[in-house]
Symmetry: C2
Subunit: 343 residues, 2 copies
Amino acid sequence: MNSSLKNDLLINALAGKKNNRPPIWLMRQAGRILPQYRAIRSKLSGFKALIANPEIACEVTIQPVDELGVDAAIIFSDILVVPEAMGLNYELVEKKGPLFERTVKNERDVADLKIADLNSNLADTIKAIELTVAELNGRVPLIGFAGAPWTIFCYMIEGKGSKDFKLARRMLYEQPELSKQLLTKITDSTIVYLNAQIAAGCSAIQLFDSWLGVLSEPLFLEFVKPEINRIAKAVNGAPKIYFPKGGHFIHHHFNDLHFDGFSTDWNMPIEQIRQNAPNKTLQGNFDPAILYSNPSHIKKSALQMIEKFGDQRYIANLGHGVYPDTPLDNVKCFVDTVKAYAS
Amino acid sequence: MNSSLKNDLLINALAGKKNNRPPIWLMRQAGRILPQYRAIRSKLSGFKALIANPEIACEVTIQPVDELGVDAAIIFSDILVVPEAMGLNYELVEKKGPLFERTVKNERDVADLKIADLNSNLADTIKAIELTVAELNGRVPLIGFAGAPWTIFCYMIEGKGSKDFKLARRMLYEQPELSKQLLTKITDSTIVYLNAQIAAGCSAIQLFDSWLGVLSEPLFLEFVKPEINRIAKAVNGAPKIYFPKGGHFIHHHFNDLHFDGFSTDWNMPIEQIRQNAPNKTLQGNFDPAILYSNPSHIKKSALQMIEKFGDQRYIANLGHGVYPDTPLDNVKCFVDTVKAYAS
């Protein structure tokens, strides 16, 4: 697929090949920051209805490529489609977040979960990927994604968002073997899903570990690292990015993780990470709150960010998803600053 | 005051004097984990009614000393009493957290805020401290506390809890000078309050920066460090602990912060912090979720924790507040394990 890409900045950065400037895309670039998205969203009954409709998912995936000129699209979907495909339905409650009908509490609940296959809700996203790749026709690469096993585990145990996921952590301490069984099932499902995304035409994939930050290094080594490495080894045909959100305690393990790139929060020690893992590509890490300020501050901060990372083996992005109420002109200023960068 | 303490383990640890074993206390030790607390709480209209009643606040402050045998008491109060004393009323909504009637949005709002004095709700906590010190009669030291300026700023801007305090961060970027004016007022209020706590008999104080983790090193250096150092220099007569929750990006600045001790989350790199700041006392950092497991796992983990920190210049504690539904016997096992430790 990649050989036909007209914009290969992202793929080059992940392969460690020289780029004239860093590629840029934004987490949550397809979403409420765009008036085109809001217009479509207002006609639908909810976020999940959008994911379930491949034509519309394709359309909103491409919107930021047209409107912002970013160097990659990321398929419009949700990390919780995997637990749904495993048998746990959820709804997205406006302004509150996800809410699962049932949670996982015991061995029986774990045994009842399926390994996800494509005869499920996942087929909608795979179809959306096929449509998007055809529609993009090589303009930019399409990124696929999934939640990392620990983050999916969090939602399966707690059934909704949490600031510390203490019940999920409790499960690791109280029932470590059962926890591993559950993580293994999530990993197996994720491998099926990500390989299908690549087969459908994704040029790269990102694994979001949104809640890694509530763990610690020993828990990471015992429960997270084996699973994400199993994913990295079993998912082939496209470069892979891991986003260990809040995982400041794992930087010295980046070299042992079989990913090409790592996405970084806005408060991570970039110089130190570069020293520890000079042959990995880094992504990030603009504080999305800076996009509330003004163009001159945004421009200055964006250039400082590139200087900090260096312009090679680097993908410009935010440290977290763009906030839905960010002024669009400020987002454009950020993208344009990176695109105008000359090394 | 300290000369009359019968248990000076905490004070010794903060002064770098030799102890036969580490002292232990638990964040949120006075609270729902204790049946004695729940019995009192059930008779009152709310958490704030408890803080407003010095006799009852005194009683619940001492309960964990009697029931758990911890080496320090911490006055029962709330970090949000300071914004209230500055003119912003709040309520604590059951299962939801704090909710302020008004938030700070502009210059006028900042100008309207008072510098806190003791002719306010703060008098209740000061009275509770006097009663508690008299009642403890030197059994253990009493710790006073306040929220750090940035954390109080977060609540003043957003008016309630948040997972990322993006509006507060937005304020720093959009209106840095106004932000500093507000932080200065909070700092001035905090200095008044903490000095009054020490005058009333507190043997140590802790400054809780519960939301430092949403910032970054540059923001810490610009907006946080000057304020907390001003507090540390202006508050005298007792050792001071700073709890930079989530602030993994500031460890190399500990030596430049005028605090005697630093409390640490359960995922912080302790060996590295010890190397960077060998003459500071560290506190923490047991994952409170481990207290859901079983006595043998708790005991093993507690001993590993002490080995990691070393038994001098060390105060055993949790990495965050104890969860209200923790089995009491498990909490006792943790405390007893530390108390039985022989170096």
